[in-house]
């Protein structure tokens, strides 16, 4: 186990270097340069001087190594636009994004698995068709469009839920207020992922229900409910866990849209802002932190197989 964790850690570090190199190269190679340096009121000569002062006219590999060496000293650099350390800028946005992503993940896993299992067990029933229709809709609808439709219905027409932000401005913070703000963005964020999980759970469950060992279980005279939940579900969940894990980067990517639609002041908006403004240090900081998050999730996922599937053993290499 120790050796496994060590080997995974080494791999993860290599992975992070690769990811950061790729991102760094792609954004720095683009024409134009950081937006803040092109601020209105600056002449061409001023812009050139600002680019030089930031070392942006050095070759990209040199710039990357400088960034990497700063990183090794615990320094992610400073946001070009905000003038504050990247770590401070990014970390301040993490809690709200986590709140959204975790809620979205919980919603999608709980309801996704539930819908998937029910559809599989009651295959071709009305419930199954309904669930299928809903999940297909969920997978096919543009996220931002769904968000705006929900805002129009729930906020503008029915005045039930707030349309933007994480809390009501100028009001005392209450749990109810926070939850009300959380509902629409979390639902929108969860939709596509929920649909995906439901589909996978359904097909995985169907496959397992037809599997030989369940036939054996049935043949032994176990009650159908016991067959399904004690033997079937656990086996069906193994591939589902993979889908859940694969859903993490998608969910994290989805926050960029969801946060923009709902003016949720989290990391997704920061990512959009810094990408459009080309605040390179912030883009790199976000990429790094999100990659770490995703790698950690993958690691936990692989660990979870051990508990879900007794046949899986951890070894140093795959």
């Amino acid at each position: 186990m120790g050796r496994y964790i060590l080997s995974r850690t080494v791999q993860s570090v290599v992975l992070l270097v690769f990811v950061s190199m790729l991102t760094f190269a792609l954004i720095h190679a683009a024409p134009g340069g950081p937006g803040v340096l092109l601020a209105p009121g600056m002449t061409g000569a001023q812009i050139k001087e600002a680019q030089r002062a930031l070392g942006l006219d050095d070759p990209i590999p040199v710039q990357y190594l400088r960034w990497l060496s700063n990183l090794l000293h615990g320094n992610l650099g400073k946001s070009y636009g905000q003038g504050l350390p990247v770590s401070q800028v990014v970390i301040s946005r993490i809690p709200l994004t986590l709140e959204l992503v975790v809620t979205g993940m919980l919603l999608s896993v709980v309801f996704g698995v539930l819908i998937g299992v029910v559809s599989a067990v009651r295959r071709y029933s009305i419930v199954d068709h309904l669930a299928t229709g809903l999940t297909f809709f969920g997978m096919s609808v543009p996220v931002f469009w769904l968000g705006l439709m929900l805002i129009i219905l729930f906020s503008i027409d029915w005045h039930l839920l707030p349309s933007s932000g994480a809390v009501t401005l100028g009001a005392a913070a209450t749990l109810i207020d926070r939850l009300k703000h959380l509902v629409l963005p979390a639902v929108v964020l969860a939709t596509a992922n929920l649909a995906q999980i439901a589909r996978y759970t359904r097909s995985s469950m169907i496959e397992v229900l037809n599997a030989d060992f369940l036939r054996v279980a049935r043949a032994k005279g176990l009650r159908e409910r016991a067959v399904i939940y004690r033997h079937g579900l656990r086996n069906a969940l193994v591939p589902v866990v993979t889908v859940v894990a694969l859903g993490v980067p998608r969910l994290v990517g989805g926050v960029a849209i969801t946060e923009s639609v709902f003016a949720w002041p989290g990391m997704g908006q920061l990512a959009v802002d810094s990408a459009l403004q080309r605040d390179y240090p912030v883009i790199m900081g976000i990429t790094l932190m999100v990659s770490i998050l995703v790698i950690l999730t993958n690691f936990l996922t692989d660990l979870s197989y051990v508990f879900l599937d007794p046949r899986v053993k951890l070894t140093g290499t795959r």
Partner: protein, 297 residues
């Protein structure tokens, strides 16, 4: 890394019959699904409309007809005009070209690349496998959408850059599926037999192993088209999708949001086409999976 169920050839091949592709009745099984059949009809119609767009409308999609913005549907403008006084029907048709092209070409790119990585990893194993799968892991660990955003915001969004960006950032699932199919197939009796009979490795891969993975690739690619179209619309919403004046369903929908009260129909059409098209690809993907799966009855 963990030897996991998803990659373990032994956990699955016992569950499946050795030969799934090419069994008789496949199309019949597929066509029996009314949704999938309808989806095929719809997609053929849309593709034809996109291809023959110039014959179906007399307006160029960029032509501004001064003073005619936000007109309701009429004989002259079948679905009205948009906020910039351009014929909406024409833009929908030409937008279909762009959106479908993005979906299909990005998918081809991603399936080709994913299959190559997956096949090489699974078949050759060892170092090739290690490199291929680490690359796949790396791409899966990147918050791809952020990367797309950052790259397109920097490089600038044009149809080719969007296709490249989507294609090269969505091949990982295909690679994994193909790899596990290849691993599974490589141990099947008839492949073993072929190997014993002296088939070369490349021939084994191309003639015997890959065809076995074909159904999975097919499913992945149909789903991929829809995903690519959705990604383009999301990118459009953030301002880094296909850039106007070129019409895509994504940027049309995104622009129409501004007029959702004044001209709700403007948001309806591109939204509906995106939804139906993605839905169709999903139906087809799902139906093919069902049709190809041995345990469906």
């Amino acid at each position: 890394m963990a030897s996991t169920a998803r990659d373990d050839p032994t956990t699955r091949d016992v569950l499946r019959s050795p030969s799934r592709a090419g069994r008789p009745g496949l199309w019949r099984r597929f066509a029996r699904n009314p949704f999938a059949a309808a989806a095929v009809v719809y997609l053929v119609a849309i593709v034809l409309a996109a291809v023959f767009a110039p014959l179906l409308t007399r307006y160029a999609p960029d032509r501004i007809i001064i003073g005619q913005e936000l007109q309701p549907p009429s004989a002259a403008h079948w679905v009205g005009t948009d906020q910039s006084a351009r014929d909406e029907f024409s833009r929908l048709l030409y937008g279909a070209r762009i959106s479908l092209a993005i979906g299909i070409i990005a998918m081809l790119l991603s399936v080709t690349f994913g299959t190559a990585v997956g096949a090489v990893s699974g078949f050759f194993g060892g170092a090739a496998d290690a490199i291929g799968m680490r690359l796949t892991d790396a791409m899966l660990a990147i918050p791809v959408f952020f990367l797309l955003l950052a790259v397109l915001a920097s490089v600038g969004s044009s149809v080719p850059t969007i296709i490249l960006a989507i294609g090269l950032s969505s091949w990982m699932a295909t690679a994994r599926v193909v790899r596990s199919e290849v691993l599974r197939t490589a141990n099947l009796d008839f492949v073993t037999a072929a190997r014993v009979l002296g088939a070369t490795r490349l021939r084994l891969l191309v003639r015997h192993v890959l065809p076995q993975a074909f159904p999975s690739m097919l499913v992945a690619s149909t789903l991929g088209v829809g995903q690519a179209i959705l990604i383009e619309s999301a990118l459009s919403y953030l301002g880094v999708g296909v850039q106007p004046p070129t019409a895509s369903w994504g940027n049309m929908l995104s622009n129409a949001q501004s007029y959702v009260f004044a001209a709700p129909l403007l948001a309806l059409w591109p939204g509906l086409f995106i939804l139906l098209t993605v839905l169709s690809f999903n139906f087809i993907g799902d139906a093919s999976r069902d049709a190809l799966s041995p345990y469906q009855t």
